[in-house]
């Protein structure tokens, strides 16, 4: 059987590229062909940068044939969420207000990928300004889940997760403010990691909630996640909140095993409101961890029920402040007719922002306004301290915590759009991690009724290596998962529109 390059992880492709068994241009062309085959159904990309990518792939081939291997990412096709600034390439945040914005500079993570020799395939779809959990809030079009085209890919980094799952990119970057890397990774059967706050530079990431946002990898397997994280992590003088620390070789943690490893399962994340299929996978993973020598115990994070209301005051408050910059003066959309400058601001913003973004600006402005600041915003900041304290206490006893990534599998398009609170509940398992600023990884744990289920490991600050190590052990036992559409894109074309997807499991 011919090897499908679009299904292989980057570390295997890297070995083939270095041995010159395949070329970077050949690999890119396979990915571009896959995009041609499936993109009209998946719609993972807002912009595909074919010409630029071809030039980068040719340069990668020149480097590889000279034996210059800058990094494990040389010649690897990578997709970027469309809130990461790319010099000369439109960066929209899936918003009408930035529909024509062409950044004059690269985000630090983008520059690091270029320096590593990666090939940048394009910019992926997302919920507008990363506000959402399904990618249905994109101002342009929704993205569909490669496992079942009738379902959402999750969000807000839904385009990045869907692109990796469909074979339309080998790896991708997303951003995570309340679960926006981990939840779509779980819904699409791939790996997603939210780094410790400050571990990855936010320079050039269009800001949503500055004290919560982090950029991180979405990949086919855990080893790729380690490689991509290493390429983007580390201090950056252009981001004053970026931490000074030595970036380890994350891949070196993978083989350490789990003997004596201590895993806590917070009961607040394993009980009520969790789908039976999701709980079943969680229980199987707990069994596997014990078989591999880990000690798994129930623990508690008592303030968990307050994470959602806390988050939905803090994140909109920061967003309302960050999004004040969209006024139609320096870049982006401007209304056609305005009587004066205030009228111009009001019409530009009303016409340029979608309903969810307006809702959060309104909520955040209210929470920060005179008379309500102490009652809502300050109160939420104090509760944040309590939530962080829960994790600090738990990490005195455990190396990592284990929880579902999302209470359900991928839901149907349109299922949760009518009620914002229902949509917000989709992030119930991921939000507290952002409030505490700690790292977490989602790794596929199995399938439930033919759909992927992610399990989430949560770690101490800067313990990404530990998270990758335990996720790698799970992956070794349960394997990686390939969406049916990625396995046979031609057959999927014939089934288009039916929204049908069968079971697909790989090693």
């Amino acid at each position: 059987m011919e090897l499908d390059l679009c299904l292989l992880p980057a570390h295997r492709l890297h070995a083939m590229l270095v041995k010159r068994e395949i070329g970077a241009v050949e690999l890119l062309q396979a990915v571009l062909r896959r995009i041609d085959e499936v993109e009209d159904r998946v719609r993972a990309y807002i912009t595909v940068t074919r010409e630029e990518a071809l030039q980068q792939a040719r340069e990668a081939d020149r480097m590889l044939s000279r034996g210059e291997v800058a990094s494990p990412l040389v010649g690897i096709p990578v997709a970027l969420k469309d809130n990461l600034c790319t010099i000369g390439v439109r960066t929209t945040c899936a918003s009408k207000i930035l529909y024509n914005f062409v950044p004059p500079y690269d985000a630090t993570v983008v520059r690091r990928l270029r320096d590593a020799g990666a090939v940048l395939v394009g910019k992926t779809n997302m919920d507008e300004f990363a506000m959402g959990s399904s990618t249905e809030n994109s101002a342009f079009f929704p993205t569909r889940n490669p496992w079942d085209l009738g379902r959402v890919p999750g969000g807000s980094s839904g385009g990045s997760a869907a692109a990796v799952a469909a074979g339309e990119a080998v790896m991708a970057l997303g951003s995570d403010t309340g679960g926006s890397i981990r939840q779509p990774a779980a819904f699409c059967g791939v790996v997603g990691l939210k780094p410790t706050y400050g571990a990855v530079s936010r320079y050039g990431l269009v800001a949503f909630a500055s004290s919560l946002d982090q950029i991180g990898p979405i990949t086919r397997d855990v080893e790729d996640c380690a490689l991509l994280l290493r390429a983007i992590a580390g201090h950056d003088p252009l981001d004053t909140t970026s931490a000074r620390f030595e970036v380890p070789d994350y891949a070196s943690f993978l083989e350490e095993g789990l003997r004596g490893f201590r895993v806590g399962v917070p009961r607040e994340y394993a009980g009520e409101g969790i789908d039976p299929g999701v709980r079943g996978v969680l229980m199987r993973v707990i069994g596997l961890l014990e078989q591999m020598g880990a000690v798994v115990e129930e623990t508690t994070l008592p303030h968990t029920p307050y994470a959602l209301p806390c988050y939905y005051l803090i994140a909109p408050a920061e967003a309302s402040s960050n999004l004040a910059r969209y006024d139609g003066v320096r870049y982006g959309y401007r209304t056609r007719d305005a009587e004066d400058v205030v009228d111009m601001f009001m019409k530009t913003r009303s016409e340029g922002f979608g309903p969810e973004v307006k809702r959060r600006i309104m909520l955040g402005t209210y929470a920060l306004s005179a008379g309500y600041y102490d009652a809502y915003y300050l109160k939420a900041l104090k509760v944040r301290t309590l939530i962080k304290g829960d994790f600090d206490r738990a990490f005195k006893d455990y190396d990592v915590l284990l929880a579902p990534t999302s209470p359900t599998c991928a839901f149907r398009l349109g299922e949760k759009t009518a009620d914002p609170l229902q949509m917000y509940l989709s992030d119930i398992c991921t939000l507290a991690v952002n409030l505490a600023g700690i790292p977490a990884i989602s790794v596929p744990g199995g399938l439930a009724e033919g759909l992927p289920v992610g399990v989430q490991f949560i770690g101490r600050p800067f313990a990404e290596g530990t998270l990758l190590r335990v996720a790698y052990c799970v992956e070794r036992r349960v394997g990686t998962f390939v969406a049916p559409l990625a396995r046979s894109p031609a057959a999927a074309a014939a089934r288009a529109g039916e929204g049908a997807a069968g079971r697909g499991e790989d090693g």
Binding site: F101, Y306, P309, I361, M362, Y366, R384, G437
Partner: protein, 93 residues
């Protein structure tokens, strides 16, 4: 309880012009969300310090040196309207 008048006031602060339907919708939805958020009052936080930032950072100082910067033409390239080296906006006064 959040009123429509408050929604109108907040919309003005946020520089959003809302339609009548939007005002009705946001009054209803924000009321639901704020009611949910009021759960936080179950917690006694009188002695709890606020966390606005998880990193133990205060001010980050550096030498005041000229670094890389964008050329004026690059800065203006995305302007909806410009005149010469300036961003152009509707009349203010």
């Amino acid at each position: 309880m959040l009123t429509k008048q408050e929604v109108e006031h907040v919309a003005l602060l946020a520089r959003l012009a809302l339609s009548e339907e939007e005002k009705e919708m946001y009054t209803r939805q924000l009321r639901d969300i704020l009611e949910y958020a009021a759960r936080l009052n179950e917690l006694d936080t009188a002695d709890v310090p606020p966390t606005s930032h998880v990193l133990p950072l205060s001010n980050v100082f550096r030498e005041d040196e000229v670094g890389e910067h964008l050329a004026p033409e690059e800065v203006l390239a995305n302007a909806p309207e410009r005149e010469g080296g300036f961003f152009k906006v509707p009349r203010i006064v």
